[in-house]
Structures are given as structure tokens and as C-alpha cells.
């Protein structure tokens, strides 16, 4: 199949997924007793039938679900995700505002996760069934088992509060809030550099350290486990024995012969982890007051802010499809025998 046809197929695949998600979200929202009216209006307003009625009419809650769904879909086709009940801003604007923060954090975290995880996994496989292997495996398993919110709280209290080595909550120091770099990419690190504002850059990096270490250490556990098992499988292959018997240096055998062939499952897991980080790390974002998609989704869920939930759901589906797409392309480069189908 040609590359163009492959891409076209991938793009077409997005359409049923997006409609599936909107349909499901709508179905769930209408099947449960939750009422956005009680979640969004104060008690005093709830006692006033007129206010309740206006609220219902304003958000289309007085119309039958089928009609609401069709309206939503026809707006969606025109690129309109609706307005958030909670923030009163268009959902698309909210996503534009919060997504870059999540992307920046996810990218820093995945870099930490890959560096730690692949390193640990390789060491574990090379020293298989030795003390080093056991230590690395226990370490990575502890990383996965440790509740991420506890790790976040401990990291925050030690490195920020007690030692003062890093910055704490949010994306920038409070004094710098007014110096937010003009949004080009929405990543404070890049935008501040583009403006040549080193002080803001420093603050942005300092705020990224703790949350990305916390998320990265969690992800590294998953990556280390898959790296170990994948590398072990490859190390048992005949061509590795051949390479060694040719007298190649061990380092070369591992790097060029073993790792290259072990990369496919590792890349898959990295892709999945990155996708899930991009969809918003709810707990970490909440604890670090990180204004990202995860926190937005959490707030939208607890206030039954339906347009926001739908918007973020669609976004997550797109991220998922996009990440899978990139992973597929990487497969192709890692192993040219793989044909894109």
C-alpha cells in the first residue's frame, strides 16, 4: 500500500472513533441520574424555578436527548465544540489554553521516563538474574506501584518546601505571572527563549522539574520492564551469537544488533505512555496546580460540564490516533520489512 493511501486510511479511521466517542459520552450522560443543573447552580438559585428554567434553556437541557445529540454533531462537523458550562468560554479556547501546558509537561516527563527506563531495562537484561537485575526490577516495580500522588506530595514537601531546590506549584513563579511569554507555542520554556527572557525560562524549567520527575519515574517503570523482556528475547537469538562469535565488541553487539531489534515493543510502550501523559495526568496536575488538560477534565467531570467533557474526549481520541500513527511510522523506520497497512 502506498504511503499516501496509508495516511488517508488513518485519517478516515478518525471519523468513526470521534463519532463513537461522542455517542458514548452522550449515552452515558443521559443514562445516569446526574443533573448538570444541581452541579452548576448554587442552592439559592435552585430554589428559584425561573433561574433553573433559564439555565436549562440556555444549555439546551430542555430539549430531548436525540435532538441535543444531533445539534451537537452538526455543530461539531462545523468545528464548533460548544461552550463550557463551568468556564463559560468556548471549549476549543479552553483546550488551546490548557493543552500546551500538558504537552510541555508530558514531553519533559517522557524524556525522563525514557532515559531512566531504557537504561534500567538494558542493565537489567545484561545482568540477568544477578543482584543488579533484581535491584533494577524491584526499583522499576516500586516506581510503578508507588501511588503517584504520594510521590508528588513527598517530592513537593522535600525538594520545594524543605530544601528549596526547585519551584513549587503552577507553571511560573508568582512574581513572573505578569511576564508570561506571548503564546507562540504555549510552552513557556520555548516561548520565553524565543523572547530571550532567561529569567522566565529558568522559572519555567524549575517548575517543570518536580512534576516531570514524578511522572517520569512512574513511566520509567513501565518502560524498564518492557525493555528488559524485549532485549532478553533478542539476546537469545542466533544472530547475536553470530555477532559475538565474529569477535565484535559487546557494546557494538548490544547497540547495533540487539537494541535495534528490541526497539519495536519499547517504542510501542513509549508511544502509549506518551499518549496517556498527553491526555492529562489528572493527579499530578491537581497536586502541582498545573493548568493542564487533566485538571480541566477533572473539573469538568465533577461539575458535569458536558460540552467540556465531550471536547476533551474527542481531543484524547485524536491524541490516541495521532500517537499510534507516529508509532506506526517509527516501526517502518526501525524495521523496513514492516509494511504499513
Amino acid at each position: 500500500m502506498s504511503f499516501q493511501r496509508y495516511i488517508l486510511r488513518r485519517i478516515l479511521f478518525v471519523i468513526p472513533v470521534v463519532f463513537g466517542i461522542t455517542f458514548f459520552a452522550f449515552f452515558i450522560a443521559n443514562a445516569v441520574p446526574a443533573d448538570p443543573v444541581t452541579a452548576n447552580l448554587p442552592q439559592s438559585a435552585l430554589n428559584n424555578p425561573e433561574i433553573v428554567e433559564t439555565f436549562r434553556r440556555r444549555w439546551g437541557l430542555d430539549r430531548p436527548p436525540v435532538e441535543r445529540y444531533l445539534t451537537y454533531v452538526s455543530n461539531l462537523v462545523q468545528g464548533d465544540l460548544g461552550t463550557s458550562i463551568k468556564t463559560r468560554r468556548p471549549v476549543i479556547d479552553d483546550i488551546r489554553r490548557f493543552l500546551p501546558a500538558t504537552m510541555e509537561l508530558a514531553t519533559f516527563s517522557i524524556v525522563v521516563g525514557i532515559s531512566l527506563g531504557v537504561g534500567l531495562g538494558v542493565v537489567s537484561a545484561l545482568y540477568r538474574n544477578t543482584v543488579v537485575d533484581y535491584a533494577a526490577r524491584v526499583f522499576s516495580l516500586v516506581g510503578v506501584s508507588f501511588p503517584v500522588f504520594l510521590l508528588a506530595l513527598i517530592a513537593l514537601s522535600i525538594f520545594y518546601v524543605q530544601l528549596g531546590w526547585t519551584s513549587g506549584l503552577g507553571r511560573l513563579d508568582i512574581v513572573l505571572q505578569t511576564r508570561q511569554p506571548p503564546a507562540v507555542t504555549g510552552w513557556y520554556t520555548i516561548d520565553s527563549l524565543l523572547r530571550g527572557d532567561l529569567r522566565t525560562f529558568q522559572s519555567a524549567v524549575s517548575h517543570l522539574i518536580l512534576p516531570s520527575l514524578v511522572l517520569g519515574s512512574y513511566v520509567s517503570g513501565i518502560i524498564a520492564r518492557i525493555t528488559r523482556s524485549s532485549l532478553l528475547e533478542v539476546l537469545g537469538q542466533d544472530y547475536i551469537r553470530t555477532a559475538r562469535s565474529k569477535g565484535l565488541r559487546e557494546r557494538f553487539v548490544i547497540r547495533r544488533h540487539a537494541m535495534r531489534n528490541a526497539m519495536i515493543p519499547i517504542v510501542t510502550v513509549i508511544g502509549l505512555s506518551y499518549g496517556s501523559l498527553l491526555s492529562g495526568a489528572v493527579l499530578t496536575e491537581s497536586i502541582f496546580a498545573w493548568p493542564g488538560i487533566g485538571r480541566y477534565m477533572y473539573q469538568a467531570s465533577t461539575s458535569q460540564d458536558f460540552p467540556a467533557i465531550m471536547g476533551v474526549s474527542i481531543l484524547i481520541a485524536l491524541i490516541f490516533v495521532g500517537v499510534n500513527f507516529v508509532v506506526d511510522i517509527l516501526y517502518y523506520f526501525l524495521d523496513p520489512r514492516i509494511r504499513l497497512t
Partner: protein, 293 residues
Amino acid sequence: MTASIPTGLAAPHNRFKLPTSIRRLIRNPLAMVGLFIVLTFIFVGLFAEQISPHDYDLSNLSMARKGPSATHLLGNDEIGRDMLSRLFHGARISLTLSIISVGIGLVTGVLMGVAAGYFGGVVDLIIMGIIDIMLAFPSILLAIVFVAFLGSSLQNAMIAIGVLSIPVYTRLVRSSTLSIKEELFVEAARALGASHLTIVLRHILPNVFAPIIVQSTLQMAVAIQAAAALGFLGLGAPPDVPEWGNMLQKGRNFIFSAPHIVLYPGLATMLVVFGFSLLGDGLRDALDPRLNR
């Protein structure tokens, strides 16, 4: 005429060889550590009432936030309740919650997986479409959305966490069903007039038993972690219930003055998740020799 299937055809792949698997499991030190942790957790959960040194709900404000002492081995919480007794009762809640939610996921997932794999066609397409959409969401986010709509309670947390594990089982059982239904012994059974139900119950399900046990052990870890996360976000049990995530949430304000309130429930969660993961890995190695490295 009694239909007897020739033995060579009737014997499904017996991947679940108990004695050899158990021997292999026992030889794995990490799995044994996991088993010990899991058994301790189950014991504590079952006998929380009997082994708790104090009433878990009895507050004593004069003891509020006191650290470990001879009478209160793990100290007292923010309103002076005994931490150890609360942790024991928390184990009971985690145990119940994880078993029920894994049960929900297991039963639904197995039914969906068998249906998709066995019948194929449109059934497969619809079921796997649903599963793919569910998999597109990070599980904790999906749980939050579910609980937010169903209302926060322990029961709804169980349902949400159960629903999360459906895709894992569906995919697992579907892929096994797909390969098993092509086997000669299934064809023989069908030729002998066995019904779909008989084939599924007698031939297909026994063959997916081993991977299901492994997955369920690992899924227990996921459920306990998810429950703690929901509790921490205030979307699980009511505030007074000694659920570990709840306790962490309550204690986070005292992380400096009384770190033990946060640390113990956190460490308990970690330890149990760690135990189930070690045991699950060990079981996988023991039950599926092809993966045993």
C-alpha cells in the same frame, strides 16, 4: 450411542499444569515475596475486626496527630483515631473493592471476548469498536468521568474500576478464542453435535484459564491503585470511611506536622500493589513457560 471423542483430538492444550507450574512459582523468589504480601493483605482484610488493637472509628482529640507510641503503634490520625486499626480496616475495603471490581471486569470482559472471538463478523466488529474507544482513554480519566456522573460512593467506584478492566479481558479472551476455535478438537466437538455453549464452556474457557488468572492478579494491583486515586480525589468512599486514598487525602494537610498520617496509607497501597504485581509476574512465568526467562 455415546459420543466419545478420540483422545488425541479431545485433549485441549493443557497449558494449566498445576504441579509443574506451582514448582516453578515456588522457585521464583520475587513471586514468593509477592505471594507473602498478598496473603498477609488478605489475612488482614479478612480479620481486620479481630486484629485491630483499637476501635478504628473512635476519635480522641487529645491524641490528634500524635506519632507512633506503645499504645498506638502507628500513631493517630488528624482527629486522634488509631492509624493501625484504620489501616487494617482500609485493607478490608481495598480487598472487597478490588475483588468486586475485578469480578465485574472479568465476567463482562470474558463474555464480550468469547462472543467477539467465537462469533466473529458484525458481533466482533461492534464489540471491538467499543473496546478500542474505551482503550483510547487513560483509565483513571475514564473512572473519574464515570464516578462524576454516577455520583461519588464506594459502590460506584467499584463499578467504574470494574468497567475499566473490561477491555483487557475482552482482548485477552478474544485472541485466545480466535486461535482455539480453529483447533481440531473444537472442530471435532462441533462435528459431534456439541452446542455453542458446550464448546465455549468445555473447550474454550478452560484454555484461557491460565492467562485470566495472571491478568486478574495484575488487575487487582490496578484496581487497588485506581481506588486509592479516586479516594484521593474525593470520588470514592465517604470522608469518614478508612479507605487508604481517603486517609491520604485527609492527611495531606499535615504532611509536615504529622507525616505518618500520609505515609502509612501510601506505603500500604504501594506494598499491596507491589505484591500483586510481583505475584502476577511470577504466575505468568510459571503458567506460560514460553515467556519464562
